[in-house]
């Protein structure tokens, strides 16, 4: 970002639904890969919303008669060591995995966004404190810090959400800071100041709407990372506990059977995980190309 935008982004209020659809069509037809990513997102959201009602089996019901069966017509993804249907478990797990990622990203979006805007807009000691917090978090290998936080706060899903939010904090705070800093003396901000708006009002009505698009891109880009991070934590036994369906823990359960050749237990939840992360990475790249064409690679 080098150019300072001259006008506040506030043109989508008129036109309503049609304009939104038109814009979505433009975005998708411009880059088919982004279209694909939107389609993948749709699949994920549907699986999270209605998946639990559609699955053929109860994801927690064990059936030792049908344990460790390879994929078949009755069990498309096979069954695990307790005879639970893996397809059902993979689909049902979507909701929990997405929820962890969505909540942690929303949390860090609010906290990192506010801290970053304040740092960039007000400068001075606010900037120094936020910068120091970011530096300290970045001094840790991020996954290791997440492990430490979950270990200290307690081994629960909520704390996985919090830990994932904390390790992403510097990314958000820095983007928000630099975007707010280049706008603090922009013409439209000075005009707002001249007409008697308070500083916080300027932040809310002038700065925030303008940096929202770039923050949305950041959200999409870190969403994939948040999913990977949460799955990694549950893979090593943190947060989610069996018999809950969650992709990371299902891969961990399948890990013991890989060496004896029962590949389907770990493969399908792992593929689901890849599908979700890949979707958000593609989406983030596509959105970034639209919002910030200079960084296109």
């Amino acid at each position: 970002m080098t150019a300072v935008p001259s006008a506040p982004a506030r043109r989508r209020s008129s036109g309503g639904l049609m304009a939104t659809l038109k814009h979505a069509h433009y975005v998708i037809s411009d880059n088919p890969v982004t279209g694909l990513a939107f389609f993948m997102l749709l699949v994920l959201v549907l699986a999270a919303l209605v998946g639990p009602f559609l699955v053929p089996y109860d994801p927690l019901a064990s059936n030792t008669m049908a344990a460790l069966q390879p994929p078949s017509a009755a069990h498309w993804f096979g069954t695990d060591q307790l005879g639970r249907d893996i397809l059902s478990r993979v689909v049902v797990a979507t909701r929990l995995d997405l929820a962890i990622a969505v909540f942690s990203v929303a949390l860090v979006f609010a906290a990192g966004g506010i801290a970053g805007i304040a740092a960039g807009f007000f400068g001075g000691w606010t900037d120094r404190i936020v910068g120091r917090i970011c530096d300290t978090i970045m001094a840790f290998p991020l996954f290791v810090l997440a492990m430490g936080i979950v270990a200290a706060l307690g081994n629960t899903v909520t704390n996985i959400v919090i830990a994932t939010a904390i390790i992403n904090f510097p990314l958000y705070a820095r983007v928000a800071r630099s975007e707010a800093a280049i706008r603090r003396q922009a013409g439209f901000v000075q005009a707002a100041r001249l007409t008697g708006n308070s500083e916080w009002r300027i932040v809310l009505t002038q700065i925030l709407p303008n940096i929202l698009p770039i923050m949305m891109v950041q959200m999409s880009l870190t969403m994939g990372y948040a999913i990977l991070n949460a799955a990694g934590l549950s893979f090593i036994g943190l947060g989610v506990r069996p018999p809950t369906s969650e992709w990371g823990i299902m891969v961990a359960e399948g890990a013991t059977f890989i060496v004896s050749g029962e590949w389907w237990i770990a493969l399908f939840p792992g593929l689901a995980l890849m599908f979700a992360v890949f979707c958000f990475n593609l989406l983030g790249d596509g959105l970034r190309d639209i919002v910030d064409p200079q960084r296109r690679t």
Partner: protein, 337 residues
């Protein structure tokens, strides 16, 4: 050069202070009463009070912090509750295993990714460029523990090329005499070809797992930065002067393109050290990562704290080395100091 090292060291100190404060605070936010936790569920209030006094938890926070730092200065990281072993001792004996794995993974990734990125940039738009783009996008979406399991299935179960994913050395071999702690180097020093081969066989698949993980960001940044350098005027001049494309690419472009790659290595290390924990778990690798994971499951906090601190100090040190390497590659960075 000495001055540069001194100034870079000075910039690492605030990070170190921050790291120590955070790891200290992590113990203080433990849910519930730490003393009651250490005393166990059947403890009387009096026993808890005694333990509190013994652990120094009745003192004000700043005093506790001073105690913590002075213990750290003596190399004391506390004792593990479940094994009764000193955490510092356990971490130092396990560190070489983790370091051997991580470094092998990183070197493998660099050896593959850098030439790959260069080739993709030189032959822009060719099949190798497209392959590079696909691999870099897919690579960042791969959960590292999942890649590890897939490789185990392929190389151990299907093909039978790799030994069972159970640690650093097959049970039939004894570890070489410890000199560096790296089995590959130690077995070479001991001139023990058999052990070397056995250790290598155990190392290849986990190292490959880490390499696949680290490959994507390195290849991506190499390609992007080579593209930028190849389009610059001094490369055009070098070409116009009639230098062979080999000289232009290797001597002129590559050295300049390496700078962003070295900078990215800092981020790659952050991911690698985290990924290392997961890979160690998959391959039952006896490093500090699996030590921390075992401790996490039993809620044994001192090892986890020691592990987080050790990893963070390692990471700060690695970033320092990267800074110094930057100064060696780029003379301009040296004069700024």
């Amino acid at each position: 050069m000495l001055k540069l090292i001194a100034s870079r060291l000075a910039t690492a100190i605030p990070s170190l202070i921050g790291v120590v404060i955070v790891t200290f605070l992590l113990t203080r936010v433990l849910p519930g009463d730490t003393a009651a936790y250490f005393a166990g569920p059947a403890a009387t209030p009096q026993a808890i009070a005694e333990i509190r006094a013994k652990l120094g938890l009745d003192k004000p926070l700043p005093v506790q912090f001073v105690d913590y730092v002075s213990a750290l200065a003596k190399g004391d990281l506390g004792t593990s509750l479940s094994t009764g072993q000193s955490v510092a001792h356990e971490i130092t004996t396990r560190l070489p295993a983790s370091a051997e794995l991580t470094l092998s993974g990183l070197i493998l990734a660099l050896v593959i990714a850098v030439p790959f990125g260069i080739a993709a940039a030189v032959k822009q738009g060719s099949w190798i460029d497209h392959a590079c783009r696909i691999i870099t996008t897919a690579g960042v979406s791969l959960p590292v523990f999942f890649t590890g399991l897939l490789l185990v299935y392929l190389f151990y179960f299907r093909l039978g090329w790799a030994p069972a994913p159970l640690g650093r050395l097959d049970v039939f071999f004894s570890a070489p005499e410890t000199v560096t702690g790296f089995y590959l180097i130690d077995s070479l020093i001991a001139l023990d070809g058999e052990t070397f081969r056995a250790a290598l066989a155990q190392l290849v698949v986990p190292a490959l797992t880490l390499a696949i993980f680290a490959l994507a960001p390195i290849a991506r940044i190499t390609r992007a930065s080579m593209l930028q350098v190849l389009a610059s005027e001094f490369v055009r001049t070098a070409r116009a002067a009639g230098l062979t494309s080999r000289t232009v690419i290797i001597t002129y472009a590559f050295r300049n393109a390496m700078l962003p790659v070295v900078t990215t290595l800092g981020m790659v290390f952050s991911f690698l050290l985290g990924a290392n924990v997961l890979v160690e778990k998959v391959f039952a690798w006896p490093g500090i990562g699996s030590y921390a994971v075992e401790a996490l499951i039993t809620s044994d906090f001192a090892p986890v704290q020691g592990f987080v601190l050790a990893m963070a100090i390692l990471y700060v040190a690695l970033n320092l080395i990267i800074d110094l390497a930057y100064g060696i590659i780029d003379p301009r960075a040296r004069s700024e100091a």
